[in-house]
Amino acid sequence: MLIGIDVGGTFTDGVLLDNFTVKEWVKVRTEEDLTRSIQEVLNYLLEHIAPETIERLVLSTTLITNLLAQKKYEPAGLLLLPGPGTNPHHLSLPGEFVILKGAIDYRGRVIEPVDLKEVEEAAGYLLSRGLKRIIVACKFSQRNNTLEKQVVRHLQHKYPDLKVKASFETSGLLNWVRRINATYYTLAVEEACHHFLSHVSHTLEQIGLKCPVYIMKADGGTIPLDLSRKYPLEAIFSGPAASTLGGLACTSPDITSVVMDMGGTTTDLALVLKGKPLLSSKGAAIAGFPTPVRALAVASLPIGGDTPLVVNNRQLAFGQRKGPALCLGGPELTLTDILVYLGYSSLGQKETIAPFVHDLADRLELSPRETAERALDLLISLLEEALTHMCKTWEEEPAYRVWQVMADKGTRPRTLICLGGPAEGIGQLWAKKREWQVIVPSYAKIANAIGAALACTTLNLDFVADTENLVFYTSIGGKQGTLERPLRTLDEARAFALSLLKEMKGDWQSHELERVEPLYAEGFNIVREWRTRGKIYQIGLQTPPGILGTVKEV
């Protein structure tokens, strides 16, 4: 049996699946101490079940997202080794930084050595500013980490109490600004994440759960709990990923659709193309700072069932949430109330809402019905605008190869999967106004937990080898190494990359190597003075996000 738990901002949802059938589900309020909510959910789900029968538990939590949003972390200083390029003083980074000597070029060659005296002075300055944590980031450290390692070693020797982190461990992808940001935030949440995960492990032990435990990632995959201590950022924005997979799990495995999850205050839109959730091309941003963390392409709108209707310059507009819907005892007329008023929802009584709609209508000099319809039209058009933008971004994703330019991106989805509280009403409305196929799964309210329960492990490897210099580098944990023999053909390089992925598989407790798909594979002849000196290979492999199977509808 499988368990999925989604710890959200307001509610924590849990589900117990037995052979793709929902056996139990539960929704509890999220407490300040998240582990207590997890415990409560597990106690309920396991009330009549022996813990030994559970094969897997997947947790999706907002912990890291919240820590970062609330800035509950200690700031860090940055030591940067930029080398030639853009002016580093103009960078916009989350922490105070000092520019140092030392540079690596695009092929991993040291083009300027580090000046250790300068490093010491810079660290001394950051310490004098009250900073106790330091990030070391060198451009192209993913191709040669020696300079970063040298600086870190020196600092650890000189200042044993200082917490130091090198950027090469965070990401092996190109884009040092994203790598700096990710390293900064990794260091920021590392301890809290560690603490939380230990707490969770302890709780699970008490309950007697011994099955493998995974944390949901932003890209819709899962990461083993122990490994997630090393990559805490992977867990950010896992909520939308869980509901997207949930939408998929509650319908059919090869559907092309939009998954819309509408909560009280926000609505998330995600694209699923032939059963595969669309990944964002660049990576998630934290507090406006871009990172390389792979995430699903999710559009989040600050509109939900609790969004109140206001009049702005005599125009109908959406305001900020003040509380729940009128029909649920809240203070103001909300979108949920409008759905009730027009008969799209049975959450409340039309009569109690009517006076408020009339009042609004008077201020707009419209009839009450027109007012209500205009509110929903506004909602639909905002959702549609976000969707169109998303589709366009996907269609207009930059392409660097002929085949990518020529690739058929297929037609835009015409199916909407509605999840969350007001889902049913919105679904009916969308079906009527836009003539789409609309699906409101029977488990729409706990689809996020189902998505977590059924999420596959995702692995992603970007591999580069330079046979002239006999080196290789990967995107995982900054793994770099020496090639023992030159890879002569693209096939040999591919086999080598696959063997690296297999090594990782153990750590990631993934049993899904048969799902490995190539993202790209190319070989470049290194030609100098008309002689071929070697080859550069670039290979991308992944097990894509997906689900173990679909749940049976009731």
Binding site: P84, T86, P88, H90, N175, E395, E396, P398, V405, E529
Partner: protein, 438 residues
């Protein structure tokens, strides 16, 4: 915020041949440098997806022998199409300038295309100019070619076009491919002095380059008043280029770009793929985005080694003097230039280095007091495959007067089917009609 559009199309799956300078590896390190900088996330830079140019876009410029399809691969269409996509973004106000960092290049491709010359099949900048004219009614365009090789293809295409100012500085044709681009090549009789060639001696550095820009090119642009400036942004004046002998640095190129302020820059040549391209391309991109480029420096480069000799100084001064007095002088009358026959005729042979083709051609331009006049070309080339094509082409200019249009169609009717020719082309830019008869 004013944005700079970028289309980066390194064509990682396209090469002329595995070890040819135009191979997959060419922009690999440029990709590494630009992506590692994180500049793609910069709020001032908008990255666009490339698109394909259409057959008509190419016919507006070229007579492709025997047809467009056999002269272009998909990569060529994408490279040309990328410039058009940026043109759209520029014209609809999304961006204030743009950089098509694309390959394959195009500036050696002439009006008649029998094959690949100087790594080029179709002329990206010329296709861009005709597109801007047709779609956006742009009248005056300037093309500044900063590649080390003379942009002979672009010159050829606009040689008789008074609305396109073509300026090229390059290593002197006596010392480098394609062996042209001398000061005497200054435009046809109807477009005299809208072609400006500035041949520079080997060893010219940043100093000479910027001096030529400030003292010849800049005033010429100011006098011409183009609506759009296009930069053929070749990068092989770089001091490390393996195919040329100049001493320009990434700083020199970036400074020039910052002052030239092209609306659209299009990558041309540049084959120092490690030592120059990552830095020069970054420098150009930063200059376009009006960002500081002072940190863009080639590793191990000392300003001392890039100083140009006094001999070069003297030569640069001489050519500046030549052009300053030429452009300040009285422009000769068009009718006079056409001569007593009222007709310009030029016979020449053209060598296609990449494809080893010799083309023999005869061009004529008719004098017309009201417009640019009709252009015809008769061309013959034996291909290495043994296939021999003889073609005849007629071009009616974009701003043709009604009588020249009529004359053009009469001539077309008379010529098609003439014995000895395999293919006839009609290029009516005034009505955007392109016909081929075999």
């Amino acid at each position: 915020m004013e944005k700079t559009g970028l289309i980066f199309f390194p064509a990682f799956d396209w090469a002329i041949s595995p070890t040819h300078p135009e191979r997959e590896e060419r922009l690999l390190y440029t990709r590494d440098q630009i992506f590692e900088e994180g500049i793609i996330d910069h709020p001032k830079i908008m990255e666009y997806k490339p698109r394909l140019a259409e057959e008509t876009d190419i016919q507006r410029v070229h007579f492709c022998v025997p047809d467009v399809k056999s002269q272009t691969t998909t990569a060529h269409l994408i490279s040309a199409g990328s410039t058009l996509k940026l043109a759209d973004a520029l014209m609809n106000g999304e961006i204030h300038n743009g950089f098509a960092l694309v390959r394959p290049p195009g500036h050696h491709a002439m009006r008649v295309v029998h094959g690949n010359r100087g790594f080029c099949n179709i002329n990206n900048e010329a296709i861009l100019v005709e597109y801007l004219r047709r779609k956006y009614k742009i009248k005056k365009v300037a093309i500044v070619d900063t590649d080390v090789h003379h942009g002979d293809g672009t010159q050829d295409i606009f040689y008789h076009d008074p609305d396109v100012l073509f300026i090229s500085f390059h290593q002197d044709g006596r010392t480098l491919y394609p062996g042209s681009g001398f000061v005497e090549e200054a435009g046809g009789p109807g477009a005299y002095l809208t072609t400006i060639n500035i041949p520079l001696p080997p060893g010219t550095g940043d100093k000479g380059l910027l001096k030529v820009w400030r003292e010849i090119i800049k005033p010429a642009l100011e006098a011409f008043q183009p609506e759009i400036i296009i930069n053929s942004a070749g990068q092989d004046n770089h001091f490390t280029d393996p195919l040329a002998n100049m001493k320009v640095s990434a700083q020199g190129y970036a400074q020039l770009t910052a002052e030239l302020k092209p609306h659209l820059a299009v990558l041309e040549g540049g084959y120092a793929i490690e030592t120059a391209l990552p830095y020069v391309n970054l420098g150009i991109l930063l200059a376009l985005a009006q960002e500081d480029f002072s940190w863009v420096k080639e590793p191990g480069c000392h300003s001392g080694q890039l100083a140009q000799s006094q001999e070069v100084d003297r030569y640069v001064d001489k050519i500046i003097h030549y052009w300053q007095s030429k452009l300040a002088g009285k422009r000769p009358d068009k009718e006079q230039l056409f001569g007593p026959d009222k007709k310009y005729v030029r016979q020449r042979s053209i060598y296609y280095d990449t494809d080893q083709i010799y083309e023999q051609q005869t061009e004529t331009v008719e004098y017309c007091p009201d417009c640019q006049g009709l252009y015809t070309v008769s061309s013959q080339a034996a291909k290495h495959s043994g296939k021999n094509y003889k073609i005849w082409g007629l071009s009616i200019p974009y701003h043709a007067c009604p009588s020249c249009v009529q004359k053009g169609y009469d001539l077309w009717e008379k010529r098609i089917g003439l014995f000895g020719y395999h293919i006839f082309y009609l290029q009516d830019k005034s009505r955007d009609v392109y016909l081929t008869r075999k």
